[in-house]
């Protein structure tokens, strides 16, 4: 079980490296799809079938959306090698990585061991959740009963994002009258 988890994690890392470094945008997108499916299997492995289902279907949809962009042009490879960023961006990234690794290395030693969560609040969901919400699927019980307000927020987020996409894809943004050109 642990062996499988580790190999899946390494699969994801390899997928990420290929997705980032390959010059072909199409294979890059497909690598991300593979990572998402790997993530779905990890969810299944770690006792989260609900998440696995959601992850698979979302992965399919976001892959379709990404392909829609990538296939807009015939030639999907990156033509030439880019000069790597400005000094500022690189320095910021290195600084960030340094701070992150420094803090993470001490923090992960102090975290509860993998496989032994604290379950302070969740123990109540596990022991009494069924009695209170009367739904056998405890994840749905948490999602739609104990924390239903979060789910309203979630539904609102997707509503917002879709309205936002429609707004962005409008053919015309401004109604122009005589020379009302702001970026002249």
């Amino acid at each position: 079980m642990l062996f499988l988890l580790y190999s899946l994690l390494i699969f994801m890392i390899v997928g990420a490296v290929i997705a980032i470094e390959t010059r072909d945008l199409l294979s890059s997108v497909i690598c991300v799809g593979a990572m998402g499916l790997g993530l779905a299997i990890i969810f299944l492995l770690l006792g989260a079938p609900d998440l696995a289902i959601v992850q698979v279907v979302v992965e399919v949809l976001s892959l379709v959306l990404l392909l829609r962009v990538v296939l807009m042009r015939e030639d999907v490879t990156i033509a030439h090698r880019y000069r790597y960023g400005e000094v500022f961006a690189t320095a910021t990234a290195l600084l960030f990585f340094g701070v992150f690794i420094m803090l993470a290395s001490t923090a992960y030693k102090q975290m509860p061991q993998f496989g032994n969560p604290i379950l302070k609040v969740s123990q109540d969901y596990i022991s009494n959740g069924f009695a209170k919400a009367r739904a056998p699927n405890l994840v749905t019980a948490v999602l739609l009963d104990f924390r239903a307000y979060d789910t309203l927020g979630e539904a609102t987020v997707i509503f917002t994002a879709i309205i936002g996409s429609l707004v962005i894809l409008r053919k015309r943004g401004r109604i122009r009258d005589e020379g009302n050109e702001p970026d002249s």
Partner: protein, 143 residues
């Protein structure tokens, strides 16, 4: 967008039905088995998107037009919002105000199933809508 060949269309017609039924099942039984309104909604959207790909945009838009999808999007969101507000009848926002019923039955656990249905409708409509709009977006010719 044009449709695809006859073979693809025939298979899609068969397959899309199954996908839609399975999506509806995932939505309805979300409180009993893995799944829920969101996963089911995405499946329903994927089924319709398959129809769009196989039959072309016009074929699928005869079933659900863009305006209708947009309206269903809002209706689903409003329905979920209404479930939340109806909780005030019991004194709290988001109170699970419907009787909890016998566990393991379809009609049980109060508002959970109704919430799932509302989310399912919402997610289905909005994802289908965004796909149609993205697919229909054509880059204008320069000049």
């Amino acid at each position: 967008m044009k449709g695809m060949s006859l073979i693809v269309r025939t298979i899609t017609r068969l397959l899309a039905g199954f996908i839609l039924v399975y999506g509806a099942h995932i939505v309805l039984y979300g409180h009993l088995t893995p799944g829920g309104g969101f996963a089911g909604g995405v499946m329903l959207a994927c089924g319709l998107i398959l129809l769009v790909l196989a039959f072309g945009k016009d074929g699928a838009l005869e079933i659900v037009s863009e305006n209708a999808a947009s309206a269903w999007d809002c209706i689903g969101a409003l329905a979920f919002w209404l479930i939340a507000v109806l909780g005030f009848t019991g004194g709290y926002f988001f109170l699970n105000f419907v009787g909890k019923g016998e566990p393991f039955n379809l009609i049980s656990a109060g508002t959970l199933m109704w919430s799932n249905i509302a989310i399912g409708i919402k997610v289905w409509a909005c994802l289908f809508l965004v796909f149609v709009v993205l697919a229909a977006f054509r880059i204008r010719d320069e000049g």
